[in-house]
Symmetry: C2
Subunit: 163 residues, 2 copies
């Protein structure tokens, strides 16, 4: 089983920025990382008029675009898969999966919070919360890291999930 870390937090808390920094730090340390982002309202990918876009528009259920170094796949699915199902279907040969946008999930979590939002945390220790990343220390019975302390957060991830 590939370890999964779920990054949670309210809208505009800075989840993507934190994930991007964590990816860079993990890659610097030699880890292979995958990400899964959930968009409840669907997403746009590909570009209107491109061949692959035309295939999908015409009714193809799966469109694969292949090149020597990268593959892209757009696939229609029958249900809203959870993180573990998506990992099982689409992810291999990585050391860690970072997920964002999945509301309730059982995986270890980091919650991102900023004081200007003046809002409580979404998660508790019982939700498998490993740590908080915030611009001001928060008390929740788990370690609280500065939102910019990518090295500290990745040290924690390494210790808890990658050993």
């Amino acid at each position: 089983m590939i370890p999964i870390l779920s990054v949670v937090g309210r809208s505009n808390a800075g989840k993507t920025t934190l994930i991007v920094k964590m990816i860079a730090e993990l890659v610097r340390r030699g880890y292979r990382v995958a990400t899964i982002k959930h968009n409840r309202h669907g997403f746009e990918i590909d570009h209107e008029g491109k061949d692959s876009w035309r295939h999908k528009q015409a009714g193809a259920r799966i469109t694969v675009i292949a090149s020597p170094h990268q593959v892209a796949v757009v696939e229609d699915i029958e249900k809203d898969y959870d993180i573990a199902e998506l990992v099982n279907r689409y992810i291999r040969n990585v050391d860690l999966v970072l997920s964002e946008g999945f509301k309730k999930n059982p995986h270890p979590k980091i919650e991102v919070n900023r004081s200007e939002m003046k809002q409580d945390l979404l998660s508790t220790k019982e939700d498998n919360l490993l740590a908080i990343a915030s611009d001001s220390p928060l008390e929740a019975g788990v370690p609280s890291f500065d939102i910019n302390d990518t090295v500290g957060l990745v040290d924690l991830i390494e210790g808890q999930l990658l050993r």
Copy 2:
């Protein structure tokens, strides 16, 4: 094994247009279709600045974007996979795969040609050529269909690959 049909032809012969029409006709007949397009020089997908794009830029080897009805995956690969390998890795639950852009391959083929190109066919019967789609009849020891005769071409595909 999911049947594979390779659509071949020179640049600008009209391969994508034919594929798009065939997809629509196959879907109309109740078949589930996947497509694989090979771009030797790489491809652009996703949109600069989007979260998934930022994940990939930061060094993620695989980025999955999930929604209730569609999933997209962008994955770094180590080698240029052939059609059968791509089908094996990325395609399931379809009745037929249409491929485009793979130069030499052993799969059954339709070659698209237009007379104004004044160029010979790329394939022969020995390359597993099933039929020609052209704006003027061509003699190559296989059936020659009008380039707009999507129904005739799909009848042939149905008879040869989907029974």
